[in-house]
């Protein structure tokens, strides 16, 4: 702001100096003192546009960027927990069942992901990107599919079958992809 004010002052001073020199006829500069309304109107419009761009559009772009950054941060949190959950689940492959600590970890991650998805939905609805709200409903359904694939069946007492492992991989990929796509959509949103 200080820089803008200083620059504006210097510019104003320079313009004032040129106009004074033109009025006196110094340095070969002359001033046509007949006012042409069309040219004055054009000048006013140019000044208006310059201020409009500076103070309205730039500040609005800044606000939207802040919203996007916040939403992307929230989605990234869900992606991180989803990957961590997948790692714990897959660490039990080949074992007769899931250990108690791993079971606790998986259920804990599922709860975190659920909370993160709800936070994403709330934040999107409150932001200027609220037209992305239907994507949040889709995320919820993909989350249910993943939770069912990982904690359904005979969880945690028996080993996952080959079919269950395949279902988990598919459900994880779908949810992971949907979250990543949401990040890109948020970033590209106008």
């Amino acid at each position: 702001m200080r820089l803008t004010a200083a620059a504006a002052s210097i510019l104003g001073l320079a313009v004032g100096l040129v106009l004074w020199a033109a009025d006196r006829g110094y340095c070969g500069i002359t001033l046509d003192k007949h006012l042409k309304p069309v040219e004055v109107a054009g000048l006013a419009v140019t000044i208006f546009i310059a201020f409009f761009l500076q103070y309205f559009l730039v500040s609005k772009a800044g606000e939207t960027r802040a919203e996007k950054d916040f939403l992307i941060e929230t989605v990234r949190g869900a992606i991180k927990d989803l990957r961590a959950c997948r790692d714990v689940v897959s660490s039990s492959y080949g074992s007769p069942g899931m250990s108690e600590p791993n079971k606790k970890a998986v259920l804990g991650y599922m709860r975190r992901i659920s909370n993160e998805l709800e936070n994403i939905e709330t934040a999107v609805e409150a932001s200027s990107l609220r037209d992305l709200t239907p994507r949040c409903e889709a995320l919820k359904l993909l989350y249910f599919s993943y939770k069912r694939s990982a904690t359904g069946g005979n969880f945690p007492s028996k080993a996952y079958s080959t079919l269950q492992i395949s279902d988990q991989a598919h459900a994880f990929r779908s949810l992971h992809q949907a979250l990543q796509s949401l990040v890109f959509e948020i970033n590209a949103h106008r």
Partner: protein, 106 residues
């Protein structure tokens, strides 16, 4: 009529069936959920189920308990009698309602 899973059953809900381990969905259904549900129906009141305060619920537990109840009684009746409270996990209620609605397909 109220039922708190963490206080009256377990803070660590377990697997699907009794033979798989402690605090199973089957055990919860037989010992608590079904008797309370029947009492609520008899008394013409709702059964308020508090889901908070546990370490989390596996799908296997939820499906065995609530899906199991909906296989014994009409899903519409189960949904009208049961009211859920859950602050710990926002989507848990929607998840349980889904298992109740889909129970008869299993």
């Amino acid at each position: 009529m109220d039922l708190s899973i963490s206080r009256e059953f377990s803070e660590t809900p377990g697997p699907r069936s009794r033979d798989e381990g402690e605090f199973s969905g089957e055990q919860f259904l037989e010992e608590l959920l079904q008797p309370r549900f029947e009492a609520a129906v008899r008394d013409g009141c709702t059964l308020n189920i508090d889901l908070d305060g546990t370490e989390g619920y596996a799908t296997s537990f939820l499906e065995a308990a609530f899906g199991g109840l909906a296989r014994k009684y009409e899903p519409a009746q189960v949904l009208s009698v049961l009211h859920f409270k859950c602050n710990d996990e926002p989507y848990l209620i929607a998840e349980i309602e889904k298992y109740i609605r889909e129970a008869r397909g299993k």
